[in-house]
Symmetry: C2
Subunit: 697 residues, 2 copies
């Protein structure tokens, strides 16, 4: 795709109408302040407002240390001082108020001003209407990161972006850095508008070509950093644990070897010489064939700490992924349990990681399934900085051919309370506030070192994300990373209002209503026609798209359902199964252990039950399977007809409409295929007829 086809996503010119038609004053200096100025200027140029200091303003954006603020702004500052004291907003926070017909944004640093400006854009006309009391905004997690699984080279099967469903990489083209820096700039702007402040620009599976980004191809990374920096987005790199041997020519990559440590130190020094605000390294070690410390008889902590030591002088961090398991498992051996792996590997290492190591834990114990319990690792490492990893790219949730708005899933995960009904939540663990006391140890664990990380869904597709509606997932991730308490439905409203231009129509609410109808429950709809009751997988091996109930059942990948003629599910109880339930603290260790209390939606993740087992819902397992699969496909048909109304009414751009219709057609086909394969599979196995006599093949 070429640069001239960039879709504005949720930042079309129309979204800037309210700001752009106003008189704007910016009182700050520095690179990010220049970005604020440029954005304001661009908007006012387009919509007839103005930027400058002629004594009359509708919007003031100013640093809190500005001398000689206009009166209204000065009064807001005074109130802020009174309430919390200047300098408490942090580097990224901002305060907003409207009084006396002037909207005021104050921040301690220029990043806060940038985020404040985008907040005003989100508010739109509401930012310039009635008075707004002083409100303070700051991110709950310090690092809000996207991991791009992009490669420079193109893999013949996987494509250029591993698990990417939006075309090629926006960073890399024809074996090197893309010449289309405009697109990257547009991307940085989108990220800043939702608060994402860090990205990796290469795949966690670091292949031969991409390994060189750390050393002789570092210039490309520096060039990317230059483009991202004006939007307060820092670059991180995925690096191979074996870099000292693969790149440095050393005979070993043993993390305790002095030469290895020296190599990492010197290499990292050179990285910072080129990129002073470099974020750090992301490492997938000893997992799925990647090299790691086990090869040298060292622990993950020893491995991570060596890299951390190299980064520490420069303020960099290591994201060390906890996605480690035996991918050469024997399906015959029911005692091995992939779900246990991360906890088995890492829990005992709690307290052994350096202060600038962040253990990056997938939200569930398996691998981004449509439904998983929250990973027990999140509750197991109070003395370790944790980042929770989500997957914006829809690997297991329809691959951007299906509508699947993931905000509600993430919201559920982030609000989960690993220790039961009381706080802290997962979000609080990730943000570092959950274990604040432990983190106060001086000089060791800077607070807020954790964070939220997600695998990106963006590529060089004209709509960025393949499915235009998948833009909402990127939007929602950034917003939830900023504030996990935000309501996913509200985020959808924000995204809709920014993205779609209101049209003069007989039914002004039609667009928003329809998008909610199509998207609100789409995650549950996807869940309903795919693998049932938390059992997971049942996808085509390799591609992970479309149904194949036994596709992984007899493979070494450790993802089984154990369906036989009598029942289905994985017994992970302590009493009779793999003992995985014991990795949770109370009450969850008991809730999941007991058939009586295990939630229906996770039943088959934790228990092997007969098809005739009666759920809390009152249905048998097999009837639940039939019902949800018939209903799921019907819901997709409804989504499709609902969307068609929009398109027929001319309420969306023709190119977006065409793309969404094409994807909905495929979703319909695929949902029917799931319905029929799953229902037939379980009918053939159980011999139990559908209670409603519907057609099962």
């Amino acid at each position: 795709m070429t640069g001239d086809a960039i879709h504005p996503a949720w930042l079309p010119d129309e979204a800037w109408q309210a700001v752009g038609s106003r008189r704007v004053l910016v009182r700050a200096d520095g690179p990010l302040a220049r970005t604020v100025m440029q954005e304001a200027t661009r908007a006012t140029d387009h919509h007839g407002g103005s930027v400058g200091d002629d004594g009359r303003f509708d919007l003031v954006l100013a640093l809190t240390d500005t001398v000689g603020l206009p009166d209204t702004a000065a009064s807001v500052l005074a109130e802020l001082d009174y309430r919390s004291g200047r300098g408490t907003l942090g580097t990224e926070g901002f305060a907003l108020a409207r009084r006396g017909g002037v909207t005021v944004v104050l921040a301690d640093g220029t990043a806060g001003l940038l985020y404040g400006l985008f907040h005003v854009v989100r508010l739109g006309e509401a930012a310039f209407g009635a008075a707004l009391p002083l409100d303070v905004h700051h991110p709950v997690t310090a690092r809000r990161m996207l991991n791009h699984w992009d490669n420079i080279d193109t893999h013949p099967v996987m494509g250029q972006v591993e698990r990417g469903y939006s075309g090629g990489s926006i960073f890399w083209r024809d074996g090197g850095l893309t010449p289309d820096l405009d697109r990257i700039r547009a991307y940085a702007r989108l990220l800043a508008s939702v608060g994402v402040n860090a990205i990796t620009v290469n795949n966690v599976n670091v292949h031969a070509t991409e390994a060189h980004l750390l050393t002789d191809r570092l210039g490309d990374v520096a060039a990317l950093a230059d483009v991202l920096r004006p939007y307060h987005v820092r670059v991180h790199l995925s690096v191979g644990f074996n870099s000292p041997t693969a790149l440095g020519g050393l005979p070993t990559a043993d993390p305790l070897d002095p030469d290895v440590r020296a190599w990492w130190a010197e290499t990292t020094r050179q990285v910072y010489a080129a990129i002073p605000d470099f974020g750090g390294y992301v490492v997938k070690a000893d997992s799925e064939g990647q090299p790691g410390p086990f090869g040298y008889g060292r622990t993950h902590a020893e491995g991570a700490n060596t890299l951390a030591a190299a980064l520490e002088p420069f303020g960099g961090v290591v994201h060390w992924r906890a996605f480690v398991y035996d991918h050469r498992q024997d399906w015959r051996d029911r005692s091995t349990d992939r779900a246990r792996a991360a906890h088995d590997h890492f829990a005992a290492l709690d307290g052994h990681f350096a202060g600038n190591v962040i253990l990056q834990v997938k939200h569930g114990p398996i691998d981004f399934q449509t439904r998983e319990p929250v990973s027990p690792v999140i509750a197991a490492m109070p003395s370790t900085h944790l980042a929770v990893e989500l997957q914006v790219t829809q690997e297991y949730t329809g691959q951007q051919r299906h509508v699947c708005y993931l905000g509600p899933m993430w919201s559920e995960v982030l609000a989960f309370t690993p220790w039961g009904a009381t706080r802290p939540t997962v979000a609080e663990v990730a943000s570092g506030v959950a274990h604040g006391d432990e983190r106060a140890a001086p000089g060791r664990r800077p607070s807020g070192q954790g964070g939220l990380v997600a695998v990106s869904n963006v590529g060089d597709d004209p709509f960025w994300t393949g499915h235009p509606l998948a833009q909402a997932n990127l939007y929602a991730f950034g917003r939830l990373a900023w504030n996990p308490l935000l309501d996913p439905a509200t985020l959808l409203d924000e995204w809709i209002d920014l993205t779609f231009t209101p049209a003069a129509t007989a039914d002004p609410g039609l667009l928003r209503r329809t998008l909610h109808e199509v998207m609100d429950g789409s995650w549950q709809v996807y869940e309903s026609y795919t693998a049932p009751l938390g059992v997971g997988f049942m996808v085509r091996p390799g591609s992970h798209y479309g149904p194949d109930v036994d596709g992984y059942e007899y493979t070494p990948w450790g993802t089984y359902h154990f369906a036989d003629r009598d029942g289905i599910g994985v017994d992970r109880t302590r009493a009779t199964g793999t003992g995985y339930t014991g990795q949770y603290p109370k009450p969850w260790s008991d809730v999941y252990e007991s058939l009586a209390s295990c939630p229906d939606e996770l039943l088959l993740f934790f228990h092997h039950v007969p098809y005739t087992h009666v759920l809390h819902s009152g249905k048998t397992v097999v009837q639940h399977i039939y019902d949800t699969h018939f209903a799921g496909a019907e819901r997709v048909a409804l989504m499709r007809s609902n969307w068609a109304r929009l398109g027929d009414a001319g309420l969306v751009a023709p190119d977006v409409d065409a793309r969404v219709r094409e994807r909905l057609d495929e979703q319909m086909r695929c949902a029917q295929e799931w319905r029929d394969q799953i229902n037939t599979y379980f009918y053939r196995k159980s011999g139990i007829l559908d209670a409603h006599g519907r057609r099962i093949h």
Copy 2:
């Protein structure tokens, strides 16, 4: 692989000991006679014999029109004249006798002399011992062809050779003709030694690059023909039906369009200008995505006849593949039956194909499964030339990682009598003698136009075939194509005696005995641990290696088993199923229709039965599955230990021994995987325990 690593296969210098230590007289002229001279000279140079005319001979090879033969040869010629008349040996036949201490080979043409020489090599010392009565040899089928599914380019997943398990192509390397013509020469020699006289040098799935072999890259084909010609091997080409549009720039490839016909005529004329003995075209049309006449509303006959008309002036032929089916089938629709497809498409066209069209029919109705019934097309087209296609490359029979000697399978197929207990056999249909009368129509159907065709198993692997023991399949194919009545066990003896140098050992029979133990029943062993009772597939989709019982069950490929908790199999009866049994003439239409008479080994191909159905063997279906799968894996263990004895005794070359051991280890692993997956699958479905209490997971 480089040329200097060519393994001699079954023609090591030691195989020429008997010929090479004799005095040899060759009385013939021409290119093939020169080859005979060169081979004799090479052998005698190595083993101390001589070639020439000094009046004393042990071996005379002479054309029947030679004037002034030595006395003994003249007396043999006289007897031949008396018995059958000179000139009845045909272009490829020969007569052999030994009398008065002289071995005499006579032929009407030089190709016969070449084949006669190789026959003497096969006989070894037996050709020079006691007197041998006059014996006439000629091939039963005129065209004995190998199809190479080789591409010039390398496919990222499939590799360079489609369904090739022996490395890259021996013809194409680095995007063009290989520089290693020595290897091709060695290959031609091997082919000639077993009587193969035609090959295609590119894949039947003709991709963009390979399409150009017909036109602007024809020079490469001509160069190959030059190397193959001295061994009486003709080159054929796989061509795309859409060549007139893809290569010729025409707006259509409609076979009835005059411009299209002119394009084929002119293109073919140029082919013959470059390669005067060019064999003809092989076409896969309207199958698995390949273009064909259906795109223009034409029949297969109309399509084939257009190409045939272009070839006819030059004596060339079209091999038109009958492998045509709906590969976008709906698994829900049990009325569609892929097994029916070839007969449904072609039977009605009998009599409509030109005399130089050969309909190339796979031996079974599906696709080279371990066990299939013989294709009903073979009995359905008395007025059409048929070639029967076998698969030497072990796509579905272990991919040259498993020992699977296919001679017995092919022998069974070739001896099958499509019209019941009486002749003709499949081999006789393929050779053209079955329907001799119809073929006598003047100028239309040259006799013997059919033939045997097989997909090659050769690549640039040092042992030619990946698994060294897979060389025997190539050997056996050539010999059975020459004479389908040959006993596969005898062919194995021939191959063993040629290939392996006898070693001085305490047990001189150990080598031969062990190879028979390992190879004789290896096809049945493979069958026993894979898909049971003729049901087919159950392989991993795509690669077709290793078990995946449901791998194709819900796909569009039309290869299903319909296993449910009660039973398994495909109902292809007329009474209640797809009606496929009706495509056979009597008695087979009735034999297969009836549960009482259907052979056990094809039961699930024709019938859906309960797991408790009792076979003719007295076992239930499910117990048969358990028993054969336990036994199959045990047999592989025995094969492995038997082979180890050979290697431990130093009776095979270390490189061959190492390679075979490595493959047997993999076969063992894979056979256990098949055993366990199949047994577990059917235990989970049926709930029926193994009668002998063996371990099922």
